[in-house]
Amino acid sequence: MSTDHAVDIDKQVRVYISVFVALMVLTVITVAVSRLDLSVPVAVTVALLVATIKGTLVACYFMHLISEKKLIYAVLIVTGAFFLALLALPVFTHQNGYWIDS
Protein backbone atom coordinates (compact mmCIF):
# COMPACT_ATOMS: atom_id res chain seq x y z
CA MET A 1 0.00 0.00 0.00
CA SER A 2 1.45 3.35 -0.95
CA THR A 3 2.12 6.08 1.60
CA ASP A 4 -0.21 8.46 -0.27
CA HIS A 5 -3.03 5.93 -0.03
CA ALA A 6 -2.46 5.49 3.73
CA VAL A 7 -2.45 9.27 4.25
CA ASP A 8 -5.70 9.52 2.25
CA ILE A 9 -7.40 6.93 4.47
CA ASP A 10 -6.08 8.70 7.62
CA LYS A 11 -7.66 11.92 6.33
CA GLN A 12 -10.94 10.11 5.69
CA VAL A 13 -10.94 8.64 9.21
CA ARG A 14 -10.67 12.17 10.65
CA VAL A 15 -13.67 13.16 8.49
CA TYR A 16 -15.67 10.17 9.83
CA ILE A 17 -15.01 11.28 13.42
CA SER A 18 -16.07 14.86 12.60
CA VAL A 19 -19.27 13.59 10.94
CA PHE A 20 -19.99 11.42 14.01
CA VAL A 21 -19.70 14.48 16.30
CA ALA A 22 -21.94 16.51 13.95
CA LEU A 23 -24.56 13.72 13.94
CA MET A 24 -24.55 13.60 17.76
CA VAL A 25 -25.00 17.39 18.00
CA LEU A 26 -27.84 17.28 15.44
CA THR A 27 -29.54 14.46 17.39
CA VAL A 28 -29.47 16.62 20.54
CA ILE A 29 -30.88 19.55 18.51
CA THR A 30 -33.68 17.31 17.14
CA VAL A 31 -34.79 16.29 20.64
CA ALA A 32 -34.34 19.81 22.09
CA VAL A 33 -36.44 21.44 19.34
CA SER A 34 -39.24 18.90 19.86
CA ARG A 35 -39.60 20.20 23.45
CA LEU A 36 -40.11 23.82 22.37
CA ASP A 37 -43.85 23.27 21.88
CA LEU A 38 -43.83 24.64 18.33
CA SER A 39 -46.89 24.47 16.07
CA VAL A 40 -47.16 21.23 14.07
CA PRO A 41 -46.16 22.70 10.65
CA VAL A 42 -43.08 24.43 12.14
CA ALA A 43 -42.11 21.35 14.18
CA VAL A 44 -42.45 19.08 11.12
CA THR A 45 -40.38 21.47 8.98
CA VAL A 46 -37.58 21.80 11.55
CA ALA A 47 -37.50 18.06 12.37
CA LEU A 48 -37.38 17.05 8.70
CA LEU A 49 -34.78 19.72 7.92
CA VAL A 50 -32.45 18.45 10.67
CA ALA A 51 -33.11 14.82 9.63
CA THR A 52 -32.28 15.73 6.01
CA ILE A 53 -28.97 17.33 7.08
CA LYS A 54 -28.13 14.21 9.13
CA GLY A 55 -29.12 11.90 6.26
CA THR A 56 -27.03 13.93 3.81
CA LEU A 57 -23.99 13.64 6.08
CA VAL A 58 -24.41 9.85 6.32
CA ALA A 59 -24.94 9.47 2.56
CA CYS A 60 -22.11 11.81 1.51
CA TYR A 61 -19.40 10.65 3.91
CA PHE A 62 -20.19 7.19 5.32
CA MET A 63 -21.63 5.99 2.00
CA HIS A 64 -18.98 7.92 0.03
CA LEU A 65 -21.53 9.59 -2.25
CA ILE A 66 -19.45 12.75 -2.25
CA SER A 67 -16.98 11.03 -4.59
CA GLU A 68 -19.02 8.39 -6.41
CA LYS A 69 -19.29 7.47 -10.09
CA LYS A 70 -21.82 9.12 -12.43
CA LEU A 71 -23.87 5.95 -12.89
CA ILE A 72 -24.63 5.80 -9.15
CA TYR A 73 -25.77 9.44 -9.23
CA ALA A 74 -27.99 8.64 -12.24
CA VAL A 75 -29.58 5.71 -10.38
CA LEU A 76 -30.17 7.90 -7.32
CA ILE A 77 -31.67 10.79 -9.31
CA VAL A 78 -34.24 8.43 -10.85
CA THR A 79 -34.89 6.88 -7.42
CA GLY A 80 -35.29 10.33 -5.85
CA ALA A 81 -37.80 11.39 -8.51
CA PHE A 82 -39.96 8.29 -7.96
CA PHE A 83 -39.63 8.64 -4.19
CA LEU A 84 -40.88 12.23 -4.31
CA ALA A 85 -43.75 11.19 -6.61
CA LEU A 86 -44.67 8.50 -4.07
CA LEU A 87 -44.70 11.02 -1.21
CA ALA A 88 -46.69 13.48 -3.32
CA LEU A 89 -49.55 11.00 -3.89
CA PRO A 90 -51.18 11.62 -0.48
CA VAL A 91 -50.80 15.38 -1.02
CA PHE A 92 -52.75 15.18 -4.29
CA THR A 93 -55.35 13.03 -2.55
CA HIS A 94 -55.87 15.83 -0.03
CA GLN A 95 -55.59 18.83 -2.29
CA ASN A 96 -59.23 19.78 -1.69
CA GLY A 97 -58.81 19.39 2.05
CA TYR A 98 -61.21 16.45 2.15
CA TRP A 99 -60.73 12.81 2.99
CA ILE A 100 -60.32 10.37 0.10
CA ASP A 101 -64.01 9.30 0.08
CA SER A 102 -65.40 12.83 0.00
Binding site: T30, A51, I72, V75, H94
Partner: protein, 196 residues
Protein backbone atom coordinates in the same frame (compact mmCIF):
# COMPACT_ATOMS: atom_id res chain seq x y z
CA UNK B 1 -16.90 -20.02 -13.37
CA UNK B 2 -15.72 -17.00 -11.39
CA UNK B 3 -18.07 -14.11 -10.70
CA UNK B 4 -17.02 -11.32 -13.09
CA UNK B 5 -15.99 -7.80 -12.07
CA UNK B 6 -15.73 -8.34 -8.33
CA UNK B 7 -12.40 -6.54 -8.17
CA UNK B 8 -11.67 -5.10 -11.60
CA UNK B 9 -13.77 -2.20 -12.86
CA UNK B 10 -16.24 -2.74 -15.71
CA UNK B 11 -15.40 -0.34 -18.51
CA UNK B 12 -19.03 0.55 -19.36
CA UNK B 13 -20.23 1.29 -15.80
CA UNK B 14 -16.94 2.42 -14.27
CA UNK B 15 -17.85 0.27 -11.25
CA UNK B 16 -17.53 -3.25 -9.92
CA UNK B 17 -20.68 -5.37 -10.30
CA UNK B 18 -21.07 -5.58 -6.54
CA UNK B 19 -21.14 -1.80 -6.17
CA UNK B 20 -23.79 -1.22 -8.84
CA UNK B 21 -25.75 -4.21 -7.49
CA UNK B 22 -25.94 -2.93 -3.92
CA UNK B 23 -26.95 0.57 -5.07
CA UNK B 24 -29.75 -0.83 -7.25
CA UNK B 25 -30.91 -2.88 -4.27
CA UNK B 26 -30.84 0.23 -2.06
CA UNK B 27 -32.87 2.08 -4.70
CA UNK B 28 -35.56 -0.62 -4.37
CA UNK B 29 -35.35 -0.24 -0.58
CA UNK B 30 -35.98 3.50 -0.90
CA UNK B 31 -39.22 2.69 -2.72
CA UNK B 32 -40.21 0.10 -0.09
CA UNK B 33 -39.80 2.52 2.81
CA UNK B 34 -41.10 5.36 0.61
CA UNK B 35 -44.40 3.49 0.16
CA UNK B 36 -44.74 3.14 3.93
CA UNK B 37 -43.83 6.80 4.55
CA UNK B 38 -46.47 7.79 1.98
CA UNK B 39 -48.96 5.56 3.82
CA UNK B 40 -48.01 7.30 7.08
CA UNK B 41 -48.69 10.74 5.52
CA UNK B 42 -52.00 9.54 4.07
CA UNK B 43 -53.18 8.01 7.35
CA UNK B 44 -52.00 10.97 9.46
CA UNK B 45 -53.43 13.73 7.28
CA UNK B 46 -56.70 11.82 6.94
CA UNK B 47 -57.13 11.29 10.69
CA UNK B 48 -59.40 13.66 12.66
CA UNK B 49 -56.75 13.72 15.41
CA UNK B 50 -53.25 12.31 15.73
CA UNK B 51 -51.27 11.78 18.94
CA UNK B 52 -47.82 13.26 19.46
CA UNK B 53 -45.39 10.34 19.43
CA UNK B 54 -43.87 11.25 22.80
CA UNK B 55 -47.24 10.88 24.54
CA UNK B 56 -47.25 7.15 23.69
CA UNK B 57 -43.63 6.20 22.98
CA UNK B 58 -40.45 6.42 25.07
CA UNK B 59 -38.31 9.21 23.57
CA UNK B 60 -35.36 8.51 25.91
CA UNK B 61 -35.02 4.92 24.65
CA UNK B 62 -35.38 6.05 21.03
CA UNK B 63 -32.76 8.78 21.50
CA UNK B 64 -30.43 6.19 23.03
CA UNK B 65 -31.09 3.89 20.07
CA UNK B 66 -30.40 6.74 17.63
CA UNK B 67 -26.99 7.28 19.25
CA UNK B 68 -26.33 3.51 19.17
CA UNK B 69 -27.16 3.23 15.47
CA UNK B 70 -25.09 6.29 14.49
CA UNK B 71 -22.16 4.90 16.52
CA UNK B 72 -22.57 1.56 14.68
CA UNK B 73 -22.33 3.39 11.35
CA UNK B 74 -19.01 4.88 12.48
CA UNK B 75 -17.64 1.49 13.57
CA UNK B 76 -18.81 0.02 10.25
CA UNK B 77 -16.98 2.61 8.17
CA UNK B 78 -13.93 2.23 10.43
CA UNK B 79 -14.03 -1.55 9.80
CA UNK B 80 -13.79 -0.85 6.07
CA UNK B 81 -11.05 1.78 6.60
CA UNK B 82 -9.10 -0.81 8.64
CA UNK B 83 -9.14 -3.20 5.68
CA UNK B 84 -8.02 -0.36 3.38
CA UNK B 85 -5.04 0.05 5.75
CA UNK B 86 -4.48 -3.76 5.68
CA UNK B 87 -5.18 -4.04 9.41
CA UNK B 88 -7.28 -7.18 9.66
CA UNK B 89 -7.16 -7.36 13.48
CA UNK B 90 -8.57 -3.83 13.79
CA UNK B 91 -11.25 -4.70 11.22
CA UNK B 92 -12.40 -7.58 13.44
CA UNK B 93 -12.68 -5.26 16.46
CA UNK B 94 -14.70 -2.61 14.60
CA UNK B 95 -16.90 -5.15 12.82
CA UNK B 96 -17.52 -6.93 16.13
CA UNK B 97 -18.46 -3.55 17.63
CA UNK B 98 -20.91 -2.91 14.78
CA UNK B 99 -22.62 -6.27 15.34
CA UNK B 100 -22.83 -5.68 19.10
CA UNK B 101 -24.28 -2.19 18.65
CA UNK B 102 -26.88 -3.67 16.28
CA UNK B 103 -27.72 -6.19 18.99
CA UNK B 104 -28.07 -3.40 21.58
CA UNK B 105 -30.47 -1.60 19.22
CA UNK B 106 -32.64 -4.71 18.86
CA UNK B 107 -32.62 -5.46 22.61
CA UNK B 108 -33.82 -1.90 23.35
CA UNK B 109 -36.48 -2.31 20.65
CA UNK B 110 -37.53 -5.62 22.26
CA UNK B 111 -38.05 -3.86 25.60
CA UNK B 112 -39.99 -1.06 23.90
CA UNK B 113 -42.26 -3.56 22.13
CA UNK B 114 -42.87 -5.79 25.18
CA UNK B 115 -43.66 -2.72 27.30
CA UNK B 116 -46.26 -1.64 24.74
CA UNK B 117 -47.75 -5.14 24.53
CA UNK B 118 -47.88 -5.32 28.33
CA UNK B 119 -49.88 -2.06 28.34
CA UNK B 120 -52.27 -3.52 25.78
CA UNK B 121 -50.96 -1.25 23.01
CA UNK B 122 -51.02 -3.42 19.89
CA UNK B 123 -50.84 -2.76 16.14
CA UNK B 124 -54.62 -3.27 16.08
CA UNK B 125 -55.21 -0.63 18.80
CA UNK B 126 -55.13 2.40 16.51
CA UNK B 127 -53.63 3.72 13.26
CA UNK B 128 -50.69 5.40 15.02
CA UNK B 129 -49.57 2.12 16.61
CA UNK B 130 -50.26 0.20 13.38
CA UNK B 131 -47.91 2.41 11.34
CA UNK B 132 -45.42 2.58 14.26
CA UNK B 133 -45.12 -1.21 14.52
CA UNK B 134 -45.06 -1.64 10.72
CA UNK B 135 -42.29 0.91 10.12
CA UNK B 136 -40.13 0.03 13.13
CA UNK B 137 -40.76 -3.71 12.63
CA UNK B 138 -39.59 -3.58 9.01
CA UNK B 139 -36.63 -1.46 10.05
CA UNK B 140 -35.79 -3.92 12.84
CA UNK B 141 -35.79 -6.78 10.32
CA UNK B 142 -33.29 -4.78 8.24
CA UNK B 143 -31.06 -4.33 11.30
CA UNK B 144 -31.25 -8.10 11.89
CA UNK B 145 -30.44 -8.84 8.22
CA UNK B 146 -27.48 -6.46 8.29
CA UNK B 147 -26.20 -8.11 11.47
CA UNK B 148 -26.36 -11.57 9.86
CA UNK B 149 -24.34 -10.39 6.83
CA UNK B 150 -21.83 -8.53 9.05
CA UNK B 151 -21.48 -11.58 11.30
CA UNK B 152 -20.71 -13.67 8.20
CA UNK B 153 -17.93 -11.26 7.19
CA UNK B 154 -16.64 -11.16 10.79
CA UNK B 155 -16.58 -14.99 10.94
CA UNK B 156 -16.60 -17.57 8.13
CA UNK B 157 -16.63 -15.05 5.26
CA UNK B 158 -13.37 -13.48 6.50
CA UNK B 159 -11.29 -16.30 5.04
CA UNK B 160 -11.58 -14.51 1.69
CA UNK B 161 -9.18 -11.89 3.13
CA UNK B 162 -6.33 -14.43 2.85
CA UNK B 163 -6.95 -15.30 -0.80
CA UNK B 164 -8.41 -12.09 -2.25
CA UNK B 165 -8.17 -9.09 0.13
CA UNK B 166 -9.46 -6.56 -2.43
CA UNK B 167 -12.62 -8.56 -3.08
CA UNK B 168 -13.16 -8.98 0.67
CA UNK B 169 -12.70 -5.22 1.21
CA UNK B 170 -15.25 -4.52 -1.55
CA UNK B 171 -17.74 -6.91 0.03
CA UNK B 172 -17.37 -5.21 3.41
CA UNK B 173 -17.87 -1.83 1.72
CA UNK B 174 -21.11 -3.07 0.12
CA UNK B 175 -22.33 -4.53 3.40
CA UNK B 176 -21.48 -1.15 4.96
CA UNK B 177 -23.59 0.68 2.36
CA UNK B 178 -26.60 -1.39 3.44
CA UNK B 179 -25.84 -0.75 7.12
CA UNK B 180 -25.57 3.02 6.60
CA UNK B 181 -28.85 2.96 4.68
CA UNK B 182 -30.53 1.28 7.67
CA UNK B 183 -29.06 4.06 9.87
CA UNK B 184 -30.34 6.68 7.41
CA UNK B 185 -33.88 5.28 7.52
CA UNK B 186 -33.83 5.41 11.34
CA UNK B 187 -32.67 9.06 11.21
CA UNK B 188 -36.01 9.86 9.52
CA UNK B 189 -38.12 7.37 11.51
CA UNK B 190 -37.01 8.79 14.87
CA UNK B 191 -38.44 12.32 14.55
CA UNK B 192 -41.39 11.18 12.42
CA UNK B 193 -42.71 8.62 14.90
CA UNK B 194 -41.38 9.75 18.27
CA UNK B 195 -41.22 13.55 18.21
CA UNK B 196 -43.97 14.90 15.95
Amino acid sequence: MDIPYTVEIRRDTGLTNGKIGIWLFLASEVMLFGALFASYILIRTGAPSWPRGDTILDVRLATFNTIVLIASSVTMVMAWASLMRSRFGTFRIYMGGTILLGLVFLVVKYFEYTHKFHDGLLPSTNNFLAIYFTLTGLHGLHVLGGMVVNAYFWGPGAKLWKTNPTWFTNRVEHSGLFWHFVDLVWIFLFPTLYLL
